[in-house]
Amino acid sequence: MVSPILELTNINKSFGHVHANKNINLTINKGTIHGIIGENGAGKSTLMSIVFGLYQANSGTIKVNGKEINLRSPKDSIINGIGMVHQHFMLVENFTVLENIILGFEGELVFGKNLEKAKKDLKDLCDTYKLNIDLNSTISDLSVGFRQRVEILKSLYRGAEILILDEPTGVLTPQEVDELFKILRSLKEEGKTIVLITHKLIEIMDLTSEVSVMRQGEMVGHTKTENTNKEQLAEMMVGRSVLLRLDKSEVKAGEVSFKVKNLTVKDDLDVTRVKNVDLEIRSGEILGLAGVTGNGQTELLEALSGIRKVESGEIYLEGKKVSDSQNFLDPRELKDKGLAHVPEDRQRMGLVTDFKAYENLIFGYHDQQPFSKSSVLNHRDIISHSKKIMEEYDVRPQSPNLITSNFSGGNQQKIILSRELNENPKVLLVGQPTRGVDIGAIEFIHQRLIDMRDRGAAILLVSVELDEVLSLSDRIVVMFDGKIVGEKDNINVTDRELGLLMAGVV
């Protein structure tokens, strides 16, 4: 007998002018894994933050086990058995696992008896769900996968019957995803209800029994997972049919146009993050660099683009040495030599988000003809160029005068991409091109990168999205702990093989 454990009726939520949730109705049955799928900005996280009491809905009712409840803060949700694992973990990094879990639920003013009891209860929970967590380790020493388990354990300790997970797999290796799914299935067997928020269709198909689809703040469909397929779900998400597979012509690689020899790079804290890396990228090919976040990709990209000092080793552009530990070209000089860079963190390094779109569209090229003459900006030409390029790259809305932070993630990325690709670079370094970008825009950005490659550019693609690396790259290298631990031609390679390399197992 299925009985609803969570019922949402007519939920509305606005942030200023943005109507993030419109008349949302949702019923979640007890003991199921229920998927909520939608593009970035569809309102999934907002909805679940309302259920968790973090945001308050403008209108609508929430029932748990048939009883209407009033959620003013996360405390109310926790009391009603709702737990949430956020996309960005809510953990205090310099606290131990134990401290993080008991925070707010200490049960005593001065630590003593209850602390001992908590330790025992937590050990039992760890055993039941095979979480394998050491309560005394400090969060900052734990891998992302383990931090996520701490979050799950935290919710369970606080008595969660409904566990909401917001994009839980974004930061995990395929093996870690398997482990997580195992844990989630065992939670379901113990009678817990799981709500999985994701934009990855494969996870919905793998794990859930029911699925709800959101688009632009509205709930556009509910169905049993067995009655649907990926194509249908994608279409519901985007509102039109989507190409899930990329059309890619065979690689016609030319000469080596970018070469890295024995490169070592340190980070700001003087820790060596890139260790003796060798890379070669030929014109007309995309080299994918896979790896779990924080294994030196960021520092590598920064060194290659001239932002970070090279500790030792050499970088060659079209056969000519451009950087070593003594002499190096700065980003501007590299740009002049035909190297373009789409940085990983677009809001921090790619854009000045408080500036207008047309300003961001010419940054780095603003002192060149026709944008400026004798150091004075040529406003009219800049605007007409901006209009033209925004149309070409389908940046929406097409208003050069709009402040950049008002564009969606996907459109911000298109602004950067159009700026860098417009110069027809010989070498293109791209970091996380589709992080936080919706499906429609991903399709567009991927197609543009393929076009660049077909026109003979050498492209280095750094991404933590394995699917992206697999679908775009001609060759794949895997980075782990600052070293290149494997290289594969992208013909029969599977995500499992790469996952093992990413985890440093092989």
Partner: protein, 323 residues
């Protein structure tokens, strides 16, 4: 023997001079561990000194003066909280505003009430705190070493000196051994984690600021109703900033902050001691140079060593819940 008594008196003054620094550093630990920068220790200390002196003068009891100083400092802390926690203003600006306000306010009120700009009337013995002589201090003085330590170093201080050094283990206990302390540290590191644990972030920061106000009041009262018998203009003389430096140097930890305070107190005691002293080969060192020692030390310590001190992660950032 004279050397020994020199050492004893140096330690004795170190303990006394460090007292307001210790209170202020402990006050700073509460505010900053909760994620709120407190540059206004200086202004609050000055306010406490003024209110304690005036209150004690009118009410005839230094304890009542202290009570009023506590009320005044907690109010200022709440003002800081109102501006920077509730209204999410810039915390440094709020502190600077408080500091400037207090310098002007104390001077003006003293002029209005007592006709002297920035000076309050001298307190008589009933209106101020007196030195506390520990039991048997006189009779034990002649015992070598132990007697010197007990009678010349430990005995004969104002009550605040003892309270200051007792406050350190108490602060340590509260911050590291109680659930309040756990929440306090968490809210300064990651307020979102505290919020999602069902704890009110703003309430936690206000509580921390209230404790901060109480502690800093003791520092001010010590200056105007114990070591001195009146308030004078800008009598806090940068001690609030010095305490802040000690707290940072002590990595926001009560024990190490205590040592930093003692170090600053010691250099100050040393410079007083060195004034007018002829050193072999060098001769008499100009007094200005000697007086600069504590400040030079502050700069050197902060510039040279503090690089490794890691501040609470969320310090200075107002907590914004909704985007």
């Amino acid at each position: 023997m004279e050397f020994l008594s020199d050492i004893a008196s140096l330690i004795n003054s170190t303990l006394r001079i460090s007292t307001p620094l210790v209170f202020a550093a402990m006050a700073g630990i509460f505010a900053e561990r909760s994620g709120v920068i407190d540059f206004s220790l200086e202004g609050k200390m000055l306010m406490a000194a003024f209110v304690a002196a005036v209150g004690s003068y009118f009410l005839g009891n230094p304890w009542l003066g202290l009570l009023l100083a506590i009320i005044a400092c907690v109010s200022l802390s709440m003002l800081h909280g109102f501006a920077s926690v509730t209204y999410k203003g810039d915390q440094v600006v709020s502190c600077v505003a408080i500091n400037i306000l207090i310098i002007g306010l104390t001077t003006a009120l003293a002029a209005a009430w007592f006709g002297q700009a920035g000076l309050t009337p001298t307190l008589n013995e009933d209106q101020r705190f007196l030195e506390v002589n520990l039991p048997f201090a006189e009779s034990l003085r002649d015992i070598p070493i132990v007697g010197t330590i007990y009678s010349d170093i430990l005995s004969g201080h104002y009550i605040f000196v003892y309270l200051a050094y007792l406050s350190v283990p108490l602060v340590f206990w509260v911050v590291f051994k109680t659930s309040f302390g756990l929440r306090l540290r968490a809210v300064g590191e990651n307020p979102s984690a505290v919020d999602t644990a069902g704890i009110n972030v703003f309430a936690m920061r206000y509580k921390a600021l209230a404790i901060n106000g109480v502690l800093i009041a003791f520092a001010g009262a010590h200056l105007s109703t114990a070591v001195n018998a009146n308030f004078f203009r800008e009598m806090s003389a940068g001690r609030g900033y010095l305490a802040l430096a000690a707290m940072i140097f002590g990595k926001w930890h009560p024990k190490t902050a205590l040592f930093a305070c003692l170090l600053f107190g010691f250099t100050d005691a040393l410079q007083i001691r060195l004034q007018g002293v002829e050193l072999p080969a060098i001769g008499e060192i100009p007094v200005q140079l000697i007086q600069a020692i504590p400040y030079v030390l502050t700069v050197v310590l902060l510039a040279g060593f503090v690089g490794k001190a890691i501040a609470p992660n969320a310090i200075g950032q107002p907590y914004i819940k909704e985007r």
